[in-house]
């Protein structure tokens, strides 16, 4: 009946991308999205985004997927 956690996150990040669409080309938009997610998302939300990217990230806006890839490559591995 409700969105799953991951569906919600995908919706959120796509919305971030759309709202920054005028930042420039896809690269610039991805930068905006990445810095937003970095600043506001929790560790677990980020890791779910990475899972989604790893699964191909088809539901992700292209700039959002790019942002996810960038964040993943610069993120330290999870503690524990």
């Amino acid at each position: 009946m409700f969105q799953t956690e991951q569906e919600h996150l995908i919706q959120m990040i796509n919305q971030i991308a759309l709202n920054n669409i005028s930042a420039g080309d896809e690269n610039d938009v991805a930068d905006m999205v990445a810095s937003h997610v970095k600043k506001f998302w929790s560790r677990r939300m980020k890791s779910q985004l990475f899972e989604c990217v790893e699964q191909g990230g088809e539901e992700l806006h292209p700039a959002a997927r790019l942002a996810g890839e960038r964040l993943q490559s610069e993120t330290k591995p999870l503690p524990q």
Binding site: E5, Q15, I16, S42, R43, M45, Q80
Partner: protein, 957 residues
């Protein structure tokens, strides 16, 4: 605005006429005493400042002088006659005499006339001891009434007891018209008039209606202004005159009015707005003034309670046991599901100190950043948007600044209902001639302010704010109305160039967006010109801006408008978010958000974090925690399992109720600290009694960044102030907290938060209030922000692309529902529903346009089923021309209304602030409550029973 901090002024005295703000001084002599006052000061006020009290009846210092009673006559050397001192301005070199035989005789004669038509029941009169007529009779030495009491009089005039809070006893009226003037000058409602002439004149409400049926909004200004017992609080009639008072701050809306809580022992007799309050200057609204009865309501939770499952009755336990139980559950859950499996929610209704402690508890004792606040669902976009553009997450002005504005643009706010005391101030300015532009889907009362020449209403479609603000900016740019000097000096040039290129594009022209917003292009152009060309133009906005999928974008669009026209950094201009709850500003300032430590310092900022780590003696997570909606998702997904909620009712106030309920049901341990069994508490395992603002010490920060003291006037009903409960929970969790008074918490806040560095309780007592930033550079705070520079150096124009919400009207859901508030009720209504304010609004109603009603065969008062993709609820209909066709409206003050059963979990892209203001719905006539309402009622009955059955541990079961 210049703060007139004048230690000479005693706010408990009545100086007879208002202060003059002139900078020119004149010196005069009164009864041989020399006194120097600002030009324009009345002789009466000058005398009062010299401690000489001239008798008076029709004058009081929050109203313009009227000169009708003549009791204040004085003799002035070189002038004929005996002029009224209240209407005579002080002049250089004047010599005034306030007492001599001639004056004494005149005054006695006047009093004699008044008293001959006044009941002589002083000993049994509720005003006995607080009656100016009585005082004046004493002051003038009245000894006999030669006219006798048998002549024609008004002694049998009937009482009007229609208002639940005050009585109008016309037999005692001296027709001084103070009430009439208070209603028009101070409140701006014009509900009262003097009917008739001479002996027949009398005070009348509305068209000779009773008070309740008239336009009266029960603000109490007339009651306060009345010098006799004619208009009198019922609580005083019942309890008698108070014997001491304490200055404190209203706990309802973000205006943050100061009040004198007038007491008899530990019983609150009445709340009287305090003239020394910088936010309200002695005015108030019905909520703060009268709706305090909830504090002693029988529904207050008086004992801590616990239970293992929400399907069980409550068990009354000691504080110790409840706290121990809560701490044990939290620790067990963390050890099983990990450090991040628990979190908490701070409250915008609690004090700064309490909010600070809850986030500290979460960051230090829980060891994660899963802290959020209900500001998430109201003004989080303000924080984001203003920080991005202006560099600080706060409004830029004082409330008083509006008195210098020439054009006022109100967007998505309804100040006369939601911020009434500011609404009255704004109305006063509009009566003086400022122009008004309202951008709102609904026709709001402000548009009907009397004497108003040129109110412009832009009735835009819900969800099109950003298209509208872009169109306004487009006109400013394309018609050359920018303040180019301001932009060149004060704004980042690259960002500006980028924004300018974006906004100049023809797709933002009012003509191009007409079809989106539904507002005629010419109207938009006229509004943009009026805003841009006014010498001082100010923007006020509310939740109609923030509670959208583009809330943050809209806040940035508003800041862009102010920057482009140079309307920042002085009196009369600015960007002013009107905050819903009393301490929304404070709860944001205090580090309630998962990504920010107090003072908006990001958790990843190693330097700031390091300071907190050193002071708190723990390591703080450098990654943001969960926001409220993500906590709900995580709870349903099963990895978030416990929550500590202080003073918030997320089950009623958050959108998509069924989703919230499912999340709350998924928790293993929900700890609710509240004054009542609120909706959230029905899902709780631990219920900790909260304390009202009357029962604790602390501070609130209002929408002007003003830090006001909250002072305890009665002991907490369950024995503990809220901050004490948090301290004990922390200690039980093994993280020691040790404070003996909230002032020590404030000292810690000041030490760790740069913008609060100069704040202390001593300084607050000295100055009354302080507007942050208050630090070494601004030792007594900063009334107007960004005067010389921005905290980020130069201001940042943000590109604001319009992205339509996905929540759109379609064939299945053809109408757009938007939500709002009403004057007499406050937020989820837990407090105001437990007061007599219910007489004004005892149910939430769906307003719809006659056209939409006719199409569906709906009549006034019909039961309507309102269905969205999230759920269905049933409300009664009111047909109203305030709405535009296609848009329906309701409030959410009553839990059983289920307004949030229909709102969706759509939210702001940047902050997840829910889109309460746009929900696509269908409306149809029905004959019974919705399924949700039925199950709500069942659950309510069951949980109330669990509460009634609550028994001390081991007893009865």
């Amino acid at each position: 605005m210049l703060q007139h901090f004048d230690p000479r002024i005693d706010h408990n005295r009545d100086y007879g006429t208002p202060a003059s703000l002139s900078e020119n001084l004149v010196t005069l002599e009164i009864d041989g005493v020399e006194i120097c006052v600002p030009e324009g000061t009345s002789v009466m006020r000058a005398a009062a400042l010299a401690d000489i009290n001239i008798p008076k009846l029709c004058a009081t210092d929050n109203l313009e002088a009227f000169g009708s009673c003549r009791l204040c006559a004085v003799q002035i050397d070189g002038r004929r006659g005996l002029p009224a001192s209240c209407t005579t301005p002080a002049e250089q070199g004047m010599k005034v005499w306030t007492q001599n035989d001639k004056l004494a005789k005149l005054r006695r004669n006047i009093m004699e006339l008044y008293i001959s038509d006044h009941p002589l029941d002083c000993l049994t009169c509720p005003a006995n001891g607080d009656c100016e007529l009585q005082d004046m009779a004493g002051a003038v030495g009245l000894r006999e009434v030669r006219y006798g009491f048998d002549g024609e009089n008004h002694l049998d005039a009937p009482k009007d007891t229609s208002n639940p809070y005050f009585t109008f006893d016309a037999s005692k009226c001296i027709v001084c018209s103070r009430c009439v003037r208070a209603c028009s000058e101070v409140q701006g409602t014009f509900a009262l008039t003097i009917d008739g002439r001479g002996f027949d004149s009398k005070v009348a409400a509305g068209q000779d209606e009773d008070f309740l049926d008239s336009e009266c909004v029960s603000c109490g200004a007339c009651v306060q202004a009345c010098p006799t017992a004619t208009l009198m609080e019922n609580s005083v009639i019942e309890m008698g005159q108070p014997e001491h008072s304490v200055v404190t701050t209203c706990a309802y809306c973000g205006v943050g009015c100061s009040f004198k809580a007038e007491m008899k022992g530990d019983k609150l007799v009445r709340m009287v707005p305090y003239k020394g309050g910088e936010a309200n200057h002695g005015h108030s609204c019905v909520k703060g003034r009268f709706a305090f009865g909830y504090a002693t309501h029988k529904d207050r939770i008086r004992t801590p309670m616990i239970r293992d499952s929400i399907d069980q009755p409550w068990k009354e336990v000691s504080w110790e046991e409840a706290i121990g139980f809560a701490a044990r559950r939290l620790k067990e859950i963390q050890s099983e599901y990990g450090r991040e499996s628990i979190g908490g929610i701070t409250s915008s209704r609690c004090t700064n100190e309490e909010t600070y402690l809850v986030q500290k508890l979460i960051r230090a004792a829980f060891g994660n950043n899963n802290t959020d606040t209900c500001a998430r669902v109201c003004h989080s976009p303000t924080g984001y948007g203003l920080k991005t553009t202006l560099g600080e997450s706060a409004g830029t002005q004082t409330f008083d600044s509006v008195m210098k504005a020439d054009c006022v643009l109100v967007i998505g706010a309804n100040p006369t209902d939601a911020h009434p005391v500011f609404g009255s101030l704004l109305r006063r300015r509009l009566r003086e001639g400022a122009s008004l532009i309202v951008a709102d889907p609904r026709h709001i009362d402000l548009l009907d302010t009397p004497h108003l020449g040129d109110a412009m209403h832009l009735p835009l479609r819900p969800g099109t704010n950003v298209a509208m603000v872009n169109a306004l900016a487009h006109v400013i740019v394309s018609e050359g109305l920018e303040d180019t000097d301001f932009i060149a000096q004060r704004c980042e040039s690259d960002a500006y160039a980028k924004w300018r290129a974006f906004i100049a594009d023809e797709r933002h022209a009012p003509e191009a967006v007409e079809a989106i917003t539904g507002v005629a292009a010419e109207q938009v152009r006229a509004a943009a010109r009026a805003y841009a060309k006014a010498p001082n133009a100010a923007i006020y906005y509310g939740l109609g801006v923030t509670e959208h999928s583009q809330g943050s974008t809209m806040v940035m669009g508003i800041a862009n408008l102010a920057l482009a026209t140079g309307n920042i950094g002085r009196d009369g201009v600015g960007v002013n978010p009107l905050r819903g709850q009393n301490n929304v500003q404070g709860s944001c300032d205090m580090g309630s958000f998962p990504h920010e430590l107090p003072g908006y310092q990001h958790v990843s900022d190693a330097v700031a974090r390091g300071r907190f780590e050193a002071a708190w003696g723990v390591q703080i997570d450098d990654e943001p925690g969960l926001r409220i909606p993500n906590m709900f998702d995580a709870a349903i997904a099963g990895h978030f399992r416990a929550m500590y909620v202080q003073g918030e009712d997320i089950a009623q106030s958050d959108p998509n109720t069924q989703h919230v309920e499912e999340a709350l049901r998924s928790l293993d341990c929900l700890i609710v600290q509240d004054i009542f069994l609120n909706e959230t508490a029905k899902f709780a395992h631990v219920l900790l009694p909260g304390s009202t603002f009357l029962e604790k010490n602390g501070t609130f920060t209002n929408a002007e960044r003003r830090i006001n003291r909250v002072r305890k006037v009665m002991p907490p009903i369950a024995g503990k102030e809220d901050w004490e409960v948090t301290v004990e929970l922390s200690n039980a969790l093994g993280y020691p907290m040790n404070y003996s008074h909230p002032s020590e918490i404030m000292d810690e806040i000041a030490m760790l938060t740069p913008s609060f560095a100069g704040v202390s309780y001593d300084k607050l007592d000295q100055y009354g209030s302080l507007q942050w930033p208050c630090n070494a550079e601004n030792p007594v705070g900063m009334p107007i922000m960004h005067v010389e520079s921005f905290p980020i150096g130069k201001a940042h124009f943000a590109v604001t692309e319009f992205v339509p919400t996905t929540e759109r009207a379609n064939r299945r859901f053809p109408l757009l529902l938007t939500t709002g508030r009403i004057l007499s009720q406050y937020n989820v209504g837990a407090q105001t529903r437990r007061t007599e304010n219910q007489v004004w609004h005892n149910e939430d109603i769906l307003e719809l346009h006659p056209h939409d009603a006719e199409e569906r065969g709906i009549n006034d008062g019909d039961w309507l089923g309102i269905t969205s993709r999230a759920g269905q609820t049933v409300l009664r209909a009111r047909i109203s021309e305030r709405m535009q066709p296609g848009v329906v409206y309701t409030t959410f003050h009553h839990p059983g209304s289920g307004a949030n059963v229909i709102t969706t979990d759509n939210s702001d892209w940047a902050t997840n602030c829910p889109e309460y203001k746009v929900t696509a719905v269908q409306v149809e006539k029905v004959s019974q409550p919705s399924e949700w309402q039925k199950s709500f009622e069942d659950n309510n009955q069951r949980q109330q029973k669990f509460l009634r059955e609550a028994a001390p541990a081991g007893e009865g079961r």
